[in-house]
């Protein structure tokens, strides 16, 4: 039982925060709770603290909207929060699409899709291109381009306010991840993930690798949705510094040898290890 807990403790906490946050939002709409109102695009915490999606605000700026103080404050709070806990912590700890794509990745491993689809036909840098494109289109069309097609918003808004045909978008992402491209949506396409990857370059909480403990079993790379960030496994004792790491902690749980753990990034530059 305790090994089970050790193997899935972070996963349990992640699912709890993901579902818990949505439940608070849902309760606000359905039963008038005031803890967390709105949705992941923008919300108000206890009816006083504004919280806003900084990427949505960026699109609004590109579209030429007049930006209200409340959402500037909200976007700053969220940005600072993720600068501490890790940019893409949003992806693995908050975003509801993560549950869908994790399920697709799990099923993909279980039924062995990777055995016949070994070559990944797309680059993970695509998300930065989509990010740039979203801002260009926002600017050219005068609307927030990604917000009108975002399956993430369709899902969280759908859960809170009624989903309509949004389930189809969710299903498409599931099938895309399952059959077309491994970690396709979250790891290749999603511009919000791209945005938080850029934020995550500077964030404090990091996964740290201790090479002395590593037995090179590579279980961490199997579970990791962004396996390229774990290039140092078995080679060097350094933290995972890529912004693309989602701090999901699956590698920490998968590791049997205590070679991976959370750490706080050293702010002072260490010349020896080049951090």
């Amino acid at each position: 039982m305790s090994t089970l807990w050790n193997k899935y403790r972070y996963l349990f906490f992640r699912r709890t925060t993901q579902i818990g946050l949505l439940f608070l939002y849902f309760g606000a709409n359905a039963w008038g709770w005031t803890i967390l109102m709105g949705n992941l695009s923008s919300s108000s915490f206890l009816k006083t603290v504004p919280l806003s999606d900084p990427y949505a605000v960026l699109q609004m700026i590109a579209a030429g909207a007049v930006i209200a103080t409340d959402i500037v404050i909200g976007a700053l709070i969220i940005t600072i929060f993720y600068l501490v806990v890790g940019g893409r912590a949003f992806c693995s700890w908050v975003c509801p699409i993560n549950i869908v794509t994790d399920a697709a990745a799990l099923l993909r491993r279980k039924i062995g899709v990777d055995n016949f689809a070994k070559k990944q036909p797309a680059t993970r840098n695509m998300r930065y291109w989509v990010l740039a494109l979203s801002l260009i289109i926002s600017f050219a069309m005068g609307v927030t381009a990604f917000e009108f097609i975002s399956p993430i918003s369709m899902l969280h808004r759908g859960i809170i306010f009624g989903i309509g045909f949004g389930w189809a978008a969710v299903l498409i992402i599931f099938l895309f991840d399952l059959l077309v491209l491994k970690n396709g949506w979250c790891g290749h396409v999603c511009p919000l993930g791209g945005f938080y990857s850029l934020v995550g370059k500077f964030s404090l909480i990091r996964v740290h690798h201790t090479q002395e403990n590593c037995t090179e079993c590579m279980k961490c790379k199997v579970v990791c949705p962004e396996a390229q960030v774990l290039y140092m496994i078995g080679k060097e004792s350094i933290p995972v510094l890529s912004g693309e790491c989602t701090n999901c902690a699956r590698c920490i749980e998968a590791c049997d040898d205590n070679a991976l753990n959370f750490s706080i990034r050293k702010l002072v530059k260490n010349n020896k290890s080049g951090e």
């Binding site: 606000a28 709409n29 008038g32 109102m37 709105g38 949705n39 695009s41 923008s42 919300s43 108000s44 504004p50 806003s52 999606d53 949505a56 605000v57 609004m60 579209a63 030429g64 909207a65 007049v66 930006i67 209200a68 409340d70 959402i71 909200g74 291109w129 989509v130 494109l133 979203s134 260009i136 289109i137 050219a140 069309m141 005068g142 609307v143 927030t144 381009a145 917000e147 009108f148 097609i149 918003s153 369709m154 808004r157 759908g158 809170i160 306010f161 009624g162 989903i163 309509g164 045909f165 949004g166 189809a168 978008a169």
Partner: protein
């Protein structure tokens, strides 16, 4: 070595070209789609909503206005509603806006897409100056225009007597009855839709449309000379001279020649 670097460069250029091509295709589909889905004109927005074009830029789609509405009037557009995704709207025939005096939906808006100033007079929230839309009447199906007595819309109107008034006319068909027909006044109507909700005909014969859709525009060529306020529009009028060439044809020819018309 030289050969290798050359083929690397080729590969690089090829990859860049491919990337640019995919980006262009994706961008084209994406922007065409966004353009289509935001083209809906027939949305009734919450009170205080800024101009639709700006609204689409500014609304962050958080749904706080929807949660604030005590009557569940406001909805967030979901996939399949054929409306700009995630933006708030209402369908008056289902649930109209009950025009709360404290307008709970407006101050909660974090982005200013619902503008508090536009529903404030003398520092106080004033729902009666909201411009959500304008009620229009189909005189063909409104039974009051048939001569049947009905004033459901007039009675339902929260600005009774100002936004909708009743006009009396003689019913020539019977010779002894009156038509009591509703008239909407655009300057007072807020577009709340209580009239549309109250209308007794199978499909509402009075219904709310966004003001830009429901109203025409006289333009600058026509001025109410008897109206001092309207005449002020002349103050910064600029002169444009146009000249139509006189036709060289004989009058009789141009009368007989219908070819120009078709």
């Amino acid at each position: 070595m030289n050969n290798k670097s050359q083929s690397d460069r080729r590969k690089f250029i090829l990859r860049m070209a491919r990337g640019a091509g995919i980006a262009a295709l994706g961008g084209f589909i994406w922007s065409a789609y966004v353009d289509e889905v935001t083209a809906s004109q027939l949305m009734l927005r919450p009170p205080g909503a800024i101009k639709e074009e700006d609204f689409l830029k500014t609304c962050i789609k958080c749904g706080l206005c929807v949660e604030a509405c005590p009557y569940d009037t406001l909805l967030l557009a979901k996939p399949g509603d054929h409306k700009p995704l995630g933006t708030p709207y209402f369908i008056p025939r289902d649930v109209p806006c009950y025009m709360c005096p404290d307008i709970p939906c407006v101050p909660v808006c974090p982005t200013g897409a619902l503008d508090e100033a536009s529903v404030t007079t003398n520092g106080k929230l004033d729902i009666t100056i909201a411009e959500m839309g304008l009620a229009v009447i189909d005189r063909e199906t409104c039974i009051a225009f048939w001569g049947i007595q009905c004033d459901a819309c007039y009675r339902a109107c929260p600005i009774l007597g100002q936004a909708i008034s009743v006009e009396y006319n003689k019913n020539e068909r019977t010779g002894k009855h009156a038509y009591l027909t509703p008239v909407v006044h655009a300057d007072a109507c807020t577009g709340c839709g209580l009239c549309e909700k109250a209308c007794v005909t199978e499909k509402a014969s009075i219904f709310v449309l966004p003001k830009e859709v429901a109203m025409g525009k006289a333009g600058n060529y026509y001025i109410k000379g008897w109206d001092k306020n309207d005449e002020k529009r002349l103050e910064d009028a600029t002169e444009i001279k146009t000249k139509t060439e006189i036709s060289k044809d004989k009058a009789i020819d141009s009368l007989n020649d219908a070819g120009d018309l078709y």
